[in-house]
Assembly symmetry: C2
Homo-oligomer: 314 residues x 2
């Protein structure tokens, strides 16, 4: 049992890694996610790709401990999903099906939770046992690590930080149907939306005027000293820092890791989040630190492999 596979299923591609059980990523690759016909090809495609790679590496079946799999949906320990927004799957017994296709032990988790677990195992959270990770991408994903294990929850929906309500006065609904979710202000899309609002409401001159803006253009302008970009970053920081102070009151993390595309702007993102976190923190969380994620797109496959190894060890 010297190796295992970590698999991260996304809406357009499936990322796969072959890991040694000590945590060395031997090889990583991608295959296409075929979502047609209710996503019926996704698991067979994965099974086929793993088998080919096993043979290419001259590994016996006995050398493979199993497969960890991350998917973009709530999923409990039994490895059953009820529905997925991007994969075409409705109710699906993912763990059982992939075990039957491959003959290996399979453990399934939510992709954002596994990204957090991956950062804890091999990234910014090495050595931590109580950690929160926020992924600022198209949406806002979240993963909470408690005592070294992902918080899965009663419905497989633990750590859905992006859907904390942070604004009681919002009138436009979030993708989830609620009003005022963190995701509406702190995702890449949310920041672009904040930019639009500030450009409309403020008369400050700004290099952001007269163009299509994104989270990247806002943080680029901020680094050049643009005052309007600063106002946008302050509002982003107030929403996200305030929400994380409330998350910390519940989960009491030693470390909060900020990842996803928005975090590529660097330490300046943490500056604005931490400013408002410190203002709102409970005294017992004053030792909570912030770090940028370090694994990028590999966090998901790392966490998937670690989930498998954790559950095999229990």
């Amino acid at each position: 049992m010297e190796y295992c596979f970590g698999v991260d299923v996304g809406g357009t591609s499936v990322k796969i890694g072959l890991f040694s059980t000590e945590g060395i990523l031997v090889e990583k690759w991608e295959i296409k996610t075929r979502t047609e016909n209710g996503g019926e090809k996704i698991l067979p495609d994965i099974a086929g790709s793993l088998e080919k790679k096993r043979i290419a590496h001259h590994l016996t079946k006995e050398q493979i401990a199993g497969i960890g799999l991350g998917i973009p949906a709530p999923v409990g320990e039994e490895g059953i999903v009820k529905n997925t927004a991007n994969l075409g799957w409705g109710y699906k017994e993912v763990k059982r099906e992939l075990e039957e296709l491959t003959g290996y032990t399979v453990e399934v988790g939510n992709d954002a939770n596994l990204a957090a677990l991956g950062e804890m195992w091999l990234g910014a959270g090495k050595g931590q046992k109580n950690m929160v990770m926020v992924t600022l991408g198209t949406g806002v994903g979240g993963g909470v690590i408690v005592g070294g294990h992902p918080l899965v929850g009663g419905h497989g929906a633990g750590g859905e930080i992006g859907h904390i309500c942070v604004n009681e006065t919002e009138t436009k609904p979030c993708g989830c149907g609620k009003l005022g979710c963190l995701e509406q202000y702190a995702s890449a899309r949310g920041i672009a939306r904040l930019a639009e609002k500030h450009l409309k409401e403020s008369t400050l001159p700004s290099c952001l005027r007269g163009r299509e803006n994104s989270a990247k253009s806002v943080f680029d302008a901020l680094k050049k000293g643009d005052k309007l970009a600063e106002e946008i970053a302050e509002e982003f920081g107030a929403y996200l820092g305030g929400a994380l102070a409330n998350v910390a009151v519940v989960a009491d993390p030693s470390l909060i890791v900020i990842g996803g595309g928005v975090s590529k702007a660097g330490e300046i993102v943490i500056t604005y989040i931490e400013k408002y976190f410190r203002k709102k923190q409970f005294f017992a969380n004053s030792g909570t630190r912030f770090e940028l994620a370090s694994l990028g797109n590999d966090a998901g496959i790392c966490g998937a492999a670690k989930l498998l190894l954790q559950r095999l060890g229990e």
Copy 2:
């Protein structure tokens, strides 16, 4: 190893229970909490009381698995407290000191977390593994159970639900120093304060006028159909139900248990909390149920005993 002790240290009394390891409460009793001289007598008093009770029950030392201890302060798995508001203790190695005084294994936890664990073991949460408990007393205590274990956190401060910020416009500080904590609106004191505000701002006739009010008088009036009491209960429910919807997004509990003195008003308390929880819930939490706590003041000693048994079994 047929028995263990569960101890719940409060500011005025120490509650103690002798349990069989299967979860039968054999006997419970109380001793005074002597907080003078930095609380130096508290642990020796507990050790002496346990020894007397062991002898009275004709038990040998070998029949006692150990002691679980709950204290009203943040405390990590190593059983060290940094400070306590009510016991007189500063930095104190509670686990080590009580182990030296008694010769037994000691495990220490936060009292609100252990109340939640107690309700999971022997009370309203029997059979649950993912649960949140809110204790509405003088303050608002909270405990989060994840996968059957209390969420302790990186600084021993997990589950401090009372200090979630629920009102950005509050001007009066909470006991913790922050502004707008849930505790300022949903504790017994908080409800009395809401009553005062509504009596001042409203012209509705009410049986609450011209008297000193408490959470009890408000819920008593509500049961008699008092319209002003209803307005107060709606505001209480909006703050607490909204906060719990955000907690559920992070912790994804199957069950939320409502305990503490305020919960003695009965199911009507849940009605007002659940109304706003349902309005604000994330879709994945629609299966989360509410129950009243069933162990009353015994929850703490039950949870303390269970903490010991859990950690011995690990």
